[in-house]
Amino acid sequence: MNRILKIMGFVVAMGVITSTLLIGMDVLTSERITRNEEALLQSKILDAFEIQYNTSNIYDTFTANVEKVELTIDGVDVPVYRNPDTGSISFEIEGGGVWGPIIGVLTLNEDLRTIENIGILAQQETPGLGGRIVEIPYLAKYEGVVFDPIVEVLKEGASAPNQVDAITGATSTSSAFQTILNDSYEQVIPAYQATLGGE
């Protein structure tokens, strides 16, 4: 009995000490981590809008050159970023991949249908297969693809303007990505168009 109590006491003490340390570490770093994540999002959007920046002035360049439109979709705030010079818009897309969420930035032309750029912020796909979704040459294939009314990611023979080739050997990632793109598009664009009509 005594031995069981000793083990329990040890486990509880260990749990308390390690969680205190981790909470302390989280308090120390969370602000910087959030700021880094924001900077990553802003740099992807600036890349998509082809606006020059360097690592020290991301925030200033971003606030000076990008307009933020706040949409509320089903009670959730969704920011849409707009380039006032060209009329292209960027917004975050998110959804489930094979091993974890895929988070990215989708940039559309001023016609709100043609893809200008896609950037990936976070993913946990299989390295070497689905993980290739972050590669610039693969994402470049999406440039100029049109939501008509949806984008199709095909295993082979992408020919129509709304079709694009999948990643070889990564069927699940490719179809998940197709769902993410179309769902986000359907969700954000009507709401965005509604705000334009209201102005």
């Binding site: 031995r3 083990i7 040890f10 486990v11 390690t18 340390l21 981790l22 770093t29 880094n36």
Partner: protein, 211 residues
């Protein structure tokens, strides 16, 4: 001077360090932790960052295990190592994400997977739990540096052949054609295999088949 050197060779800490770096090198001799050794060695900077992260985790977790070795109940010792190791890995991950986001992104999932690196658990069970803190410190440092130097050696060869650079400095002539295979996992296997062969041949460390 010579006398001093001979004296050092008979100290315990010197032998622990030598074992970790060469004689019982975790990668070359024990073949532990090769998952990350294959995955992050396509660039020298990634290998250095991974080596430093593992060095910190191995040394810190071994020290803590050694510190509490007399209070750990034998029945829950594995889970205790696991909790201590995970806590340190999460801390390293938060630190890198906060201050070196580029390196954290390059190491990706492998940073969190230090938890499953057999070297960390191996040193806790094989050494730290039976030895005082001062020797555990040398053991942790020596083993993780043994891991790090192999990683860096593999990465230097792979980066030079795959990208023509070392730490992003051009080392190959402009006409060099990059060997793409070296940037992929098979290249890691080839180079790591050759290095293990080379070091074992040099150290005359051969495995003897059981009778």
């Amino acid at each position: 001077m010579r006398k001093f050197w001979i004296k050092i060779q008979y100290t315990k800490w010197f032998n622990i360090t030598k074992d970790g770096l060469f004689k019982e090198n975790p990668i070359v001799v024990a073949v532990l932790g090769i998952c990350s050794a294959l995955a992050v060695t396509n660039r020298v900077e990634n290998a250095i960052a991974m080596g430093l992260a593992v060095t910190f985790v191995v040394t810190a977790s071994s020290l803590v295990v050694s510190m509490v070795r007399k209070v750990i109940p034998a029945r829950v010792r594995m889970i205790t190592y696991m909790v201590i190791i995970s806590a340190f890995v999460i801390m390293v991950q938060m630190f890198l994400e906060a201050y070196f986001p580029v390196i954290a992104a390059a190491l990706g999932a492998y940073l969190g997977l230090i938890v499953t690196n057999c070297i960390v658990m191996g040193r806790a069970e094989a050494f730290a739990v039976k030895n005082p803190m001062k020797y555990t410190f040398f053991d942790g440092i020596a083993n993780s540096l043994g891991y790090t130097w192999i990683l860096i050696a593999v990465a230097i060869i792979r980066e030079a052949l795959a990208f023509g650079t070392i730490l992003n400095f051009r080392v190959m002539p402009e006409t060099w054609v990059n060997w793409t295979v070296m940037a992929l996992a098979p290249g890691g296997f080839f180079v790591l295999g050759l290095i293990i062969w080379g070091v074992r041949e040099w150290a005359q460390n051969f495995e003897v088949a059981a009778e």
